[in-house]
Amino acid sequence: MVIPAAPPTVNTAPDSQGPASESAVGTTESRAGSARTDAPARVPKRPSPFIVAAAGTVSLLGLLPLGYVIVTGILTGWPALSALIFRPRVGELLVNTIGLVLITVPLCVAIGVGAAWLVGRTSLPGAKVFAVLLAAPLAVPAFVNSYGWVSAVPSLHGLWSGVLIATLSYFPLVYLPCAAALRRLDPTVEEAAGSLGSGAWAVFFRVILPQLRLPILGGALLVGLHLLSEYGAFAMIRFDTFTTAIVEQYRSTFNGPAANALAGVLVLLCLVLLIGESGARGRSRYARIGSGVARVTPRRSLGAFTPVGYLFLGGLFVLAIGVPFSSVIRWLVQGGTDVWADAVVGQALLQTVGYGLAGAAVTCLLAFPIAFLAVRYPSRLSRGLESVNYLTSSLPGIVTALALVTVSIRFVQPLYQTTILVIVTYLMMFLPRALVNLRAGLAQVPVGLEEAARSLGKHPVAAFLSVTARFFVPSALAAGALVFLGIVTELTATLLLAPNGTRTLAIQFWSKVNDINYVGAAPYALLMIVLSLPVTYLLFARSRLTSVS
């Protein structure tokens, strides 16, 4: 995953995706008043100005790329800008990019929901194994997947190849949250529908599917944003989108006005997706309100359709994991030990891990004040701060990188081409990944425990560290892991901003692929997958955890 995670990452706070069908909402709403509200516990104090300042600074920083696009647009002036925007090439790119989104997103939803239902609700033997296996494509960066496919089928190019590769890379973004939500659905609603005469299909489409609305929308938004910002996967199959065109303009002009004009259009497309998703969410409640613990839903036998189920899950796994893996292994075998002898392999591994760890630590640290304000002092301000960061991370890495290159050259030269600037970029791109996890973790800690510690004479900071911090360590680790995953496979921003002499795994991989040295690229592909696998598993495990709680 090369890019940002937007608001609803695969393991967002569970509260928005609880069981209870839409049809049940009307009848339960009246009882909701008497049910326990989840109003945040109040700490009788205003937030420390230090925390507000920290959160504000990070969020202001987050506005920089958007500001850059707007300011350069104004400076370029409308006549020049319109000449750069209203031309046939931009039309081509628009058709390609929008076509890609319109075809790929529904495909990912269909495959993601179908796979989630098969592994979660049927008695297909081995369903539990498939449940893990189908999360694995997240460990294969899209540009590595593309490399694997191009190795196997060299003639791949254009829109449909883009759809194929993108669908196989991104369907888990829908699959994971849907699988988690399916496990939490209250079976009584489905049983009620069944007892009123609905058949299995009717239950699926009229009861189950509406309850999956939020995870589907969240997953679809993520898929859409990934599609808009992916560079490597599409460049390799000669499919031009806005992002590939911006990178090409960058390669021809560094940061000329044409690249900035294209970036402006791309930002607008991102905003359309974000607004569309939040509009489609609606105001219905999905939380289960009954007391006690929901029963586990019984699994359904597929009967004569069992082979079809296997064919679907097995085929998906072979296409999404089998093809790229076998290509990587084929090139590795062909390269033998020679390709590993290059000292750069070790250097790239160390630098990548170094960037990953530093970026994850800094991002979690700086995301904390925002998460803290959002949970403990919810207000218009804290919500505003939060959404600014979601917006920034939704922008493609190439836009953020262009903004930071230009701003640092012109105004903060000491930072230009330094590790600090790279880490700041990662912070801006991946902050929400940390934010949603820290927020969920903090929200689960009863504030009363901390207050009790204070009342027993502990200093507020000590009380926080010894009580609350200990509870949310797992969330913080998950937050860090997700940021790490993003950094390990980040290509475009790192290419633009890295200090001289830097070689990350993604940079080296890309340089080899550009020379059609597929053998030389294989070790870097393998190392990126190996670094991503544990994090992907963690992601999977956490999506199961939240479903139990």
């Binding site: 030269q413 230009y416 001289n500």
Partner: protein
């Protein structure tokens, strides 16, 4: 002088072989006797090279230069136009000491922004005049020839284009490929612009938009021609030789057609090298440029895997290549090639 350089090289190669064979981790850098003939001061410390040349080639230069002088070389790899424009934007804040390009337009761009220091006279003396600009602020370091790579099973010898301009003919629709987003092809267009003017170039590009199939990278073009996806493509010569020297998997069924006859398609592109005015280590930077254009640097072009043409120090091309003198290239002053105008025309034509 040359003798000591060669001894240094042999010693260096010997050390490298020994290190490789025994996997011994204590390099006893046998750099031989002092061999600097460029400046009065001894080069030392480290330099940063903005490198648009193929990474492997410059890495080979850098490694040997480090062996000889002890100067550390840090590479920032990128494309011609990207790094050229980047240097212009960075201006005096640049951390670069040396800029190496694949084609001359990018280094002209930096030169026009008045960012390059005069090249040492001794270095310029090594390079024939046709491979350096009149300004003396940069020098040619290597050269490459435009070729039309084609698949004989799809294109008979009689059907080959006589001129690059022929490819604008509707008969070529969907039958030739190029990599217009790359600096290589953009340099070829800049030669066309210099030879035929803006109007003819615009018209040719518009026809190309209809006719050509666009790939990303010259290697990819050659691979597609080789696989029979497309009859022919405009690339540089060394991609073919490089692949032949390796596995040949992307060129075995491909042949090369040289346009010759001073055609724009016979354009020989000069790769440039220059030292930045703002270099913090001008002594080592000038020494590096002297090394690259000197005998041992040029020998790497002759004997290595780059298959680019040497241009100086009297070093001949790799015997596998057609000699430079037989290419019948059009006479073009490399400093006249205009990358900004080309990018503009190609953006207008809808390639960028």
């Amino acid at each position: 002088m040359l003798l000591t350089r060669n001894w240094a090289m042999i010693a260096a190669l010997g050390t490298a072989t020994l290190l490789g064979a025994t996997a011994c981790a204590s390099p006893d850098a046998a750099s031989g006797p002092e061999s600097s003939d460029t400046a009065s001061a001894t080069p030392s410390g480290s330099i940063t090279v903005y490198n648009a040349q193929h990474e492997e080639l410059t890495q080979a230069w850098a490694d040997e230069f480090t062996q000889e002088t002890g100067v550390t070389v840090v590479l920032r790899n990128g494309d011609d136009s990207e790094l050229g424009n980047q240097l212009v934007q960075e201006g005096s804040a640049s951390k670069a000491d040396v800029f190496l390009t694949e084609n001359s337009p990018a280094i002209s761009l930096v030169d026009n922004a008045d960012l390059l220091a005069p090249v040492d006279a001794d270095t310029l003396a090594q390079v024939p005049e046709q491979f350096q600009p009149s300004t003396g602020t940069w020098t040619g370091i290597a050269a490459r020839s435009t070729v039309f790579a084609y698949n004989p099973s799809l294109l008979g010898d009689a059907e080959l284009p006589a001129s690059l301009l022929d490819l604008a003919d509707p008969a070529w629709k969907g039958r030739w490929a190029a990599s217009p987003s790359g600096a290589d092809f953009q340099a070829i267009v800049s030669a066309l612009l210099e030879l035929k003017g803006e109007k003819a170039t615009s018209a040719w590009l518009a026809a190309m938009k209809d006719n050509a199939v666009v790939y990303k990278g010259n290697s990819t073009v050659m691979k597609a021609v080789n696989a029979g996806e497309i009859p022919g493509g405009v690339i540089y010569h060394y991609y073919w030789f490089g692949d032949q020297a390796g596995t040949g998997e992307n060129s075995s069924t491909t042949k090369m057609h040289y346009f010759k006859n001073q055609d724009p398609g016979a354009f020989v592109s000069v790769s440039g090298g220059g030292v930045l005015k703002t270099s913090a280590n001008p002594v080592a930077a000038q020494a590096f440029l002297a090394f690259v254009t000197g005998k041992s640097g040029q020998e790497i072009l002759k004997t290595g895997t780059s298959f680019e043409y040497p241009v100086s120090a009297g070093v001949d091309a790799n015997p596998a290549l057609m000699p430079l003198s037989e290419l019948e290239a059009p006479a073009i002053d490399p400093s006249h090639l205009n990358s900004t105008k080309v990018t503009e025309l190609m953006t207008q034509a809808g390639f960028l």
